[in-house]
């Protein structure tokens, strides 16, 4: 900053030497120091207003210029040390009475809280005053000694005079032992004890002098353990905080016990939150923000975590009760508390999952109870059915179905409740969300009939007339979420396929749009491969529609050209669905019936002609396609003429009715066309003539012999069940009030009976085994050699989107492939493995 320009042309101006200041010797130092010392005394005695700063500053300056700086530094520290012992400690000592010690160190707790507080406050106030006076004085002295500080700190590497002088306060006051006799303790220990005692008083609801404690804490914060003033060596952190944390831990451990005895989870939550807030505030107003992390941790640990499980499992007020009673405020608090402790929320996660599982099992149990009665009922029902009492059976089935619907509805409600909770109380926390999803999936999968029930539930909404035209989309959307939870998707696929087939083939579907929308939604949620079959089914249906129209045109075109048989085509209208066998459930396709004799049902002649005609039409341009007739899922509308029998009454004229019966029913009825009205045919005879499988024949006969409204055939004996050996005859005296008569043909979608379910599961397991086998071959073909563990792992990974494969099934399939010589056992680096052959 200083610069000068020298004019070289003229002789330069003379630089004047500075006046000599370095004169005199030790004696001058003594004079100067005496002057400073007496001023320092004045400063300590708050008597500085008459002092001229410049004079003192200059004195210190001169001493330093005389290279006596370190001597001065030494003198000053000695002066301060003397000052402490002569003037400060006596004041402190008067404040420390035996009572203070007793009260604070708690050896005898006979001193009342009020007295304790008064003594403590007096002590702390005295301490604060001496500290503040010392600080003020030292600020002034430091300013005066500024020049010394500058040289000492840089040249002699000594701490600044301010630092060392407040260090002197620490050594001579706080760490001093105030009593000449008796117990070993230091002033700062007393300070700790008094502050902690006061804070505990405040925790119990007393009012204390916060600013007093705050200033003591500030003092402890400003003092360091050494003169190097490292940040983590503050006396507050080293001397006070550990004690404070320790004592607080005791306090809150004790408090947690008390709360636990009260057995009130909600109160505990509120209290804990309140305490946390209090401690936070206390750190701001009374202690130091440095402690907020530590003390918060203490409260969280002692008051929240340590007894968390005990509180949450409380019977009437615990987590279960909170969820059941929808105590959202409490749950929010719980969430907030636990979130502070651990953002991964392990406790809440576990507790919620447990609760979800419990609720899920409760629902299952409720349904199970309902079901148990129905199952036994149904068993009777089935027997009754076999002995001609279908009503009981269907009623039982109805009940079972409604219990299935109830299960799904309950699960959805439960889910809705937890979702709501998640939104309102848990801030849509993703951890809780996934825990919820997982535990829902868990209990849904624990319930063996979940797939069936969910499919039934959807079926109920999709079916005509079951629910009005209310908005079912949101309901179905929720159902999709459940589908997502299902692990054994293949089983669900199977049921859905079955139910969908029934809806489509019997045109029970409320709306194709809705069906398609739903399948689309499933596709988005679950995946394309999952819905491929369903889409195929729809495609078949629409292709068949076209086919039917075209066939009609074809027949119309034939008319006139071709002779006699055409007349019968005209009489019979064919509504055919050509179904791709892969897309449709096996049983509705007439496959896997197991009876063996189902392939060639003998159709009446007219029908056979019709079939041939259609076959001819269909094969035209579609070479190599094989059509198999599946009468089991068809229906027929036939006009039936009952003869005039009597002269009067309802039987007095010929009656024409439109009958709607199953295809099998039609075959049976048409059988009676060819025999005299009063000839009886036995069950066996009918079976022989039609080659209808016994089961189907039984079902068909039930429809047209037992309900009075559609009793086309008479039965002998006239009981309510059909048994082998029964005889049947055309009921020529049949009367009905309506023209259109519908024989109960198809079973409504209902819960499967135990055997049926077993069958479905067996079939499913078979499919799974095949899928396993396919996956095994696929993997091995590619990898050639693989260890057992890796192989099973890959198979699991490949199949997990459809179902969760059992290890035993995989093993079984591996064994199978080994027998078929696709695979060979081999040792891969000491681990058992396989090699792909061929």
């Amino acid at each position: 900053m200083l610069s000068g320009k020298i004019n070289n042309a003229k002789p330069g101006p003379r630089i004047r030497p500075p006046r000599r200041v370095m004169t005199g010797g030790t004696s001058e130092f003594e004079t100067l120091w005496q002057m400073l010392k007496s001023s320092f005394c004045d400063i300590h005695n708050k008597n500085a207003s008459a002092l001229a700063f410049e004079q003192l500053y200059r004195a210190a300056y001169k001493i330093v210029l005389k290279k006596k700086g370190s001597v001065l530094w030494q003198q000053v520290t000695e002066f301060e040390t003397e000052w402490f012992s002569a003037k400060v400690m006596p004041i402190i000592k008067t404040l420390i009475t035996a009572k203070t010690i007793n009260a604070a160190l708690g050896e005898v707790s006979e001193v009342s809280a009020t007295e304790r507080r008064n003594l403590g406050e007096k002590f702390l106030k005295g301490l604060r005053d001496t500290w503040e006076e010392h600080q003020t004085a030292m600020n002034m002295i430091t300013d005066i000694l500024m020049y010394m500080d500058r040289t000492m700190v840089t040249d002699a590497r000594k701490p600044s005079i301010f630092t060392s002088s407040i260090g002197l306060y620490r050594d001579n006051v706080l760490l001093a032992n105030p009593t000449e006799h008796g117990a070993e303790y230091k002033v700062c220990a007393l300070v700790n004890a008094v502050i902690i005692d006061m804070i505990n008083m405040e925790r119990r609801g007393d009012v204390i002098d916060r600013s007093l404690i705050r200033s003591i804490c500030a003092m402890l914060e400003n003092l360091h353990q050494t003169d190097e003033e490292k940040d983590d060596e503050r006396l507050y952190l080293v001397v006070f905080e550990p004690h404070y944390i320790e004592e607080s831990r005791k306090f809150y451990a004790n408090e947690a016990q008390i709360m636990l005895q009260k057995q009130n989870c909600g109160a505990w939550l509120r209290h804990a939150e309140q305490r946390l807030k209090e401690e936070e505030d206390r750190c701001k107003t009374t202690l130091s923000t440095r402690s907020s992390v530590g003390i918060t941790e203490v409260v969280e640990q002692e008051l929240v975590i340590r007894h968390l499980d005990e509180f949450l499992s409380l019977d009437r007020t615990g987590l279960g009760a909170m969820i059941d009673n929808d105590k959202r405020d409490d749950l929010s608090i719980l969430y907030r508390l636990l979130l502070r402790v651990d953002s991964k929320l392990p406790h809440l996660k576990a507790a919620i999952s447990k609760r979800v599982l419990e609720s899920g099992l409760e629902i299952e149990k409720a349904v199970g109870n309902m079901d148990l009665s129905t199952v036994s009922n149904q068993k009777d029902g089935e027997e009754a059915k076999a002995s001609s009492a279908p009503k009981t059976g269907s009623a039982a089935a109805q009940q079972a179905t409604s219990s299935a619907l109830k299960w799904v509805q309950d699960v959805l409600d439960l889910r809705k409740r937890f979702r709501m909770m998640l939104q309102v109380c848990f801030d849509n926390n993703s951890i809780i969300e996934s825990a919820l999803a997982k535990s829902f999936a868990d209990f849904v999968n624990l319930f063996p009939r979940a797939s069936e029930f969910i499919s039934l539930y959807i079926d109920a909404y999709m079916k005509k007339g079951t629910r009005g035209s209310e908005n079912v989309e949101p309901v179905l959307e929720e159902a999709i979420v459940l589908i997502n939870h299902i692990q054994d998707r293949d089983l669900f696929e199977r049921y859905y396929q079955k139910h969908l087939a029934r809806r489509l083939l019997n045109s029970k579907s409320e709306s194709t749009e809705l069906e398609k929308w739903f399948i689309n939604a499933m596709k988005q949620q679950v995946g394309t491969h999952f819905t491929a079959k369903f889409e195929g089914m729809f495609k078949d249906m629409s292709v068949s529609q076209d086919l039917r129209t075209n066939y009609k045109e074809y027949i119309a075109g034939l008319e006139g050209k071709i002779e006699p048989p055409a007349s019968s085509y005209k009489k019979i209208e064919l509504a055919i669905n050509v179904l791709t066998s892969n897309n449709w459930p096996a049983d509705s396709m007439g496959r896997n019936q197991g009876d063996g004799d189902n392939n060639d049902v003998i159709f009446p002649e007219d029908i056979q002609k019709l079939q041939n005609s259609f076959l001819k039409y269909y094969s035209n341009g579609r070479n190599g396609r094989v059509l198999t007739w599946v009468p089991s899922v068809g229906t027929a509308e036939i006009k039936c003429i009952f003869p005039k029998l009597k002269e009067s009454g309802p039987l007095s004229k010929e009656r024409r009715y439109d009958l709607t019966v199953s295809t099998y029913g039609m075959i049976v009825i048409m059988l009676f066309n060819d025999i005299p009205d009063d000839e009886w045919l036995s069950f066996e005879e009918i079976k022989e003539r039609t080659n209808i499988p016994a089961n189907d024949l039984h079902r068909a006969l039930v429809g047209i012999t037992i309900p009075p409204k559609s009793r086309i055939l008479l039965k002998e004996p006239n009981t309510k069940s059909i048994k082998p050996g029964n005889k049947f005859c055309f009921n020529s005296s049949f009367v009905s009030k309506t023209i259109k008569i519908k024989a109960p043909t198809v079973n409504p979608s209902r819960v499967e009976s135990r055997e049926e379910r077993k069958k479905t599961e067996d079939k499913n397991n078979e499919t799974r085994a095949n899928a396993c086998s396919a996956a095994l071959v696929r993997i091995m073909k590619q990898r050639k050699e693989l260890t057992h563990t890796l192989l099973t792992g890959e198979v699991m990974a490949q199949l997990s989107s459809r179902f969760c494969p059992d290890i035993p099934i995989i093993k079984q399939q591996i064994d199978g492939l080994i027998t078929k010589e696709y695979l060979e056992r081999m040792d891969i680096g000491g681990v058992p493995g396989y090699k792909y052959l061929a």
């Binding site: 900053m1 200083l2 610069s3 000068g4 320009k5 020298i6 330069g12 101006p13 003379r14 630089i15 004047r16 030497p17 500075p18 006046r19 200041v21 400063i43 708050k46 008597n47 500085a48 207003s49 008459a50 002092l51 001229a52 700063f53 410049e54 004079q55 500053y57 200059r58 300056y61 503040e132 006076e133 600080q135 003020t136 600020n139 002034m140 300013d143 005066i144 500024m146 020049y147 500058r150």
Partner: protein, 109 residues
Amino acid sequence: MAEPTNGSQIPETKYITLVSRDGFEFVVPREATKISPAITGMLDPLNNFKEAQTARCTFEEINGIVLEKVAEYFQYWYRNKDQEDVADLEIPPEICLEVLMAADFLGLT
């Protein structure tokens, strides 16, 4: 932090007076002297020394010529402290050394 050592607190004046050994007085803005820690300590109202009460600093070791330069420097600093590329302050070579010493005394380093 602490109560003032003298009960009557003097309001801080905007200008203060610097007095040289030989009696020259220079009035400078109080703000401009903040560059010198020595003068700042001198005038600190918390310390409340005599200088703080009178807003008048007497320098027994600095003569008028040098103190004038010091006062000029205070002004120079005060005007230019927030600017860049400022022209140097001219100091006549003959008082250079004395100014330097005064600067050291006042902590202007």
